[in-house]
């Protein structure tokens, strides 16, 4: 199965290439929150998408009424990926699917006021809604459905939500559809924005987000001893997956092959991963096995690496338990150090970055990794991007609620097409 198109909207840029160049330069996309006045908030910074002109992507009246900010990121990234895949002849509509990890239904302040009227002031439900389209705009499947409408995709249309693993699980599900012949092409990845008033407050109540207000750009520091939580990010990352022979027949550029997918459930605690990383390790092993490879074949890992104490430690253990001694030889980096945590979109964006790492033979760095945590003693590509020839790479995502999802990607077919 081939990856033939890439699209991204991220805190590092408004295209996949722009994001990629910034990641290689080790730039941070984190800054003070500008979406709303966060001056009284316990957390006053985030990795926001900057300079995004939503009206470029929402020209139809339906799109303006129905698309939330994160769904508009999704539409923009999906349209970019679609153009990037460069279908000369439009593919048969019923053979194109859309499977996306989509944002949790965010509650706007306007909606909170509606709800207060409903539940506390007991306004009759017939009169409580100020904007009938608000419930659709707030509902995550709306984005996936509208993107299908824009692309004319009449194949399977699925929205996936397993918190931080949503984008990766979506790509895994999409890959299954292509493999089984249920679709020739699936547009997949994720979109999200939890840079909203309620979301930031809710994550702050459980202590999952960094409170390093004095140094926002240093706040996301995966695997560093002084990490104190993740940084909320937003955006979208989308890939076009296509059956390999379908891609070859039309002479498409092949970025990479999707070789394997693994998923697992921790069955442990809702916001914690088991300290031994057993669930994560199971997903990693399943993905490698699904690809028909051995752990030693993996030459780069794009880590989940959220910058929380628990995740980075248990992810390191999971990698060691699957890779044994090879764990010390394989370079690992967390691009969340620069992009922040895009939650449901994280897996989509990280798949895009992993593909580009293979294409260019360059590994993006883990920035802010200054003081190594003794429990995290692998090669995390600290600080500066590194040249490396990578034929097989892996992307990890582990979500709240104990859902784990892992992709294995390979450069194989891209090399062949390029005559290497």
């Amino acid at each position: 199965m081939a990856v033939t198109g890439l699209g991204a909207i991220s805190p590092l840029g408004l295209t996949a290439e722009e994001t990629w160049r910034a990641a290689l330069a080790g730039r941070s996309g984190v800054g003070p929150i500008t979406r709303f006045d966060a001056s009284t908030f316990p957390v006053r910074f985030a990795a926001e998408v900057k300079g995004f002109a939503a009206d470029r992507y929402t020209q139809s009246r339906a799109a303006r009424r129905l698309l939330s900010r994160p769904a508009t990121f999704g539409l923009a990234a999906a349209e970019m990926a679609w153009r990037d895949a460069a279908f000369g002849m439009p593919p048969s509509r019923d053979r194109v699917g859309v499977v996306l990890g989509s944002c949790m239904d965010a509650i706007s302040l306007q909606r909170s006021e509606d709800l207060y009227r409903l539940y506390v002031q007991r306004t009759p439900p017939e009169q409580a809604v100020t904007d009938p389209f608000l419930c659709l705009r707030d509902a995550s499947p709306t984005g996936t459905a509208q993107i299908a409408a824009e692309l004319g995709a009449e194949g399977p249309n699925v929205s996936v939500y397993v918190a931080c693993a949503s984008g990766t699980q979506a790509i895994g599900i999409a890959a299954g559809m292509v493999r089984r012949g249920e679709a020739d092409i699936v547009v997949s990845g994720g979109f999200d924005s939890m840079v909203t008033e309620w979301d930031i407050l809710l994550f702050a109540t459980i202590g999952a987000v960094s409170t390093r207000n004095s140094d926002p750009q240093g706040a996301s520091r995966p695997f560093d001893k002084n990490r104190d939580g993740f940084v909320m990010g937003e955006g979208a990352g989308v890939v076009v997956l296509e059956e390999l022979s379908h891609a070859r027949r039309r002479g498409a550029r092949v970025y990479a092959e999707l070789l394997g997918y693994g998923s697992s459930l921790d069955a442990f605690r809702i916001t914690d991963t088991p300290p031994d990383g057993a669930g994560a390790a199971a997903a990693i092993s399943r993905a490698i096995e699904d690809a028909g490879l051995r752990p030693e074949d993996v030459q780069y890992i794009n880590a989940h690496g959220t910058s929380t104490q628990d995740n980075d430690r248990s992810e390191t253990r999971a990698i060691k338990s699957v890779f044994g001694d090879h764990a010390y030889a394989v370079p690992i980096s967390s691009t969340k150090s620069m992009t922040g945590h895009l939650i449901a979109a994280a897996g989509g964006l990280e798949a895009v970055l992993t593909v580009l790492a293979m294409r260019d033979g360059m590994l993006p760095p883990t920035i802010n990794l200054e003081d190594a945590d003794p429990d995290c003693d692998l090669d995390y590509v600290p600080g500066i991007a590194r040249r490396a020839d990578v034929k097989v790479a892996m992307s990890n995502s582990f979500g709240f609620g104990g859902s784990n999802a892992v992709l294995v990607l390979g450069r194989g077919a891209a090399d062949e097409v390029a005559g290497l």
């Binding site: 699917g97 949790m104 207060y116 659709l136 459905a145 299908a148 939500y161 109540t205 921790d266 979500g399």
Partner: protein
């Protein structure tokens, strides 16, 4: 690679018609309706909101984990109860957690609203508006620490994995009317491909509340029928005017055929095909001609290796909206019209309302029971079928009919279509 076969060995239904598959089926077959008129505000006013409320039950007797239940709102509780019933009915099965999967379809929103009420109340200004400065200062201390996890859309998947020792693959899918069936489809594929041998799959919802009522009323999807509530929802009838919201969940146990046979399980039906398609016209914009749905039905049948002529019963989505039923009926015509053996057709939303994210799974359950009992459940309130719809509808009371193959159709608000093909199990 030859695909593994998948059978249904457990069925847990928590619906407005009662607890468990037996209560559900007897009420459904008799033609009873669970639609009532209530006052969602619990005020002294005359009741005027049509809904189909979920059954009363003691969740603690089914899920003896108080700590877990603290973070499970109603929709999740319905699903956990349904899963318990399904697992108990299916009997002893594979115990290796890595070979077990869980697949959930939900519409759950991030917020359990009660959890945010105090913070909202503390932050509103004199005009009843919220702003972030007040929310950060006055609201934040009032946000309970459990608010985030209680609202997590994948909370049910998490709880199922803990309660039933599931560590294999899993997925949590978000949608509306189609998504309960889509979760069953995802489980079907995972077993077919050998990722797991056994899976819990289904959907859950709790839409009979003022919030959802307000939203769907504003979108014009709800019935405004003023007569007897049991006659409100009229699928395929010329006087149809929308649906009512219902509460509940359905969870099924799906199992690889070999593993079910080895343990001597009771097989309720075989799930032999599943497919999805999308109208792709955007939210609330169904294809009036049903073309994409027709292709979905054909793809599901093709996967099962069956032709339309072999289908004996169609459990239709029948949402009782003007465009929804027309689009579905035209799709059925495209697939089954002109065939020699047209299937009998019925839809059960007249009896239980629209259970949204649970409906696809509940209706899958109804289809399993139809095969098991060799009886098609009725479409209530279909007294004057829309003249355009020329089908052999089952009306008022269940009808005994020989069914070897049945399909069930579920559709989402964004034009998503899900279709499953079920076969009567005859031991070989």
């Amino acid at each position: 690679m030859s695909k593994r076969r998948v059978v249904v060995t457990g069925l847990g239904l928590v619906t407005p018609l009662g607890m468990g598959a037996a209560e559900f089926w007897s009420a459904l077959a008799e033609g009873r309706s669970a639609v009532t008129r209530v006052d969602l505000l619990d005020s002294a006013e005359a009741p005027r909101h049509l809904v189909a409320r979920g059954p009363q039950f003691d969740i603690r007797s089914l899920v003896p984990d108080r700590k877990l239940l603290r973070i499970m709102p109603d929709s999740d509780r319905y699903a956990l109860a349904a899963a318990r019933l399904a697992v108990d009915g299916a009997g002893e099965c594979i115990h290796v957690p890595e070979r077990r999967g869980a697949f959930v379809g939900t519409r759950k929103e991030l917020m359990a609203y009660e959890m945010l009420r105090d913070a909202t109340a503390a932050s509103l200004d004199e005009e009843g508006h919220l702003n972030s400065v007040r929310l950060g200062k006055l609201g934040f201390p009032q946000v309970p620490p459990l608010a985030l996890v209680t609202g997590m859309p994948n909370g049910c998947l998490f709880a199922l994995s803990v309660l039933h020792s599931i560590r294999g693959s899993g997925a949590n899918l978000i949608g509306s009317g189609e998504i309960g069936l889509a979760a069953i489809g995802a489980a079907f594929r995972a077993i077919q491909q050998g990722q797991v041998e056994w899976a819990l799959a289904g959907g859950q919802d709790a839409g009979a509340n003022q919030w959802d009522y307000a939203d769907l009323h504003a979108l014009g999807l709800l019935s405004e029928w003023s007569g007897d509530p049991s006659q409100a929802v009229k699928p395929f009838d010329r006087h149809r005017d929308g649906f009512v919201l219902g509460d509940g969940a359905a969870v099924v146990v799906l199992e690889e055929l070999g593993s079910a046979l080895n343990r001597g399980a009771t097989i309720l039906a075989e799930l032999s095909g599943y497919a999805e398609s999308c109208d792709a016209r955007g939210v609330l914009q169904l294809d009036p001609d049903g073309g994409a749905l027709a292709r979905g039905i054909q793809a599901a049948l093709c996967q099962a290796g069956l032709s339309p002529d072999e289908v004996g019963y169609v459990n239709a989505s029948g949402v009782a909206t003007a465009i929804g039923d027309r689009s579905e009926a035209r799709a059925l015509n495209l697939v089954f019209g002109g065939g020699q053996h047209s299937p009998v057709v019925s839809g059960i939303k007249g009896a239980i309302g629209h259970l949204m994210a649970a409906s696809g799974a509940v209706e899958f359950g109804a289809t399993v029971l139809a095969l098991h009992h060799q009886m098609a459940p009725p479409t209530l309130n279909l007294s004057e079928p829309d003249p355009e719809f020329q089908f052999d509808f089952v009306r008022s009371r269940a009808r005994e009919v020989e069914i070897r193959t049945a399909i069930t159709i579920s559709r989402g608000i964004g034009g998503q279509n899900a279709v499953a093909v079920l076969r009567r199990w005859e031991s070989q």
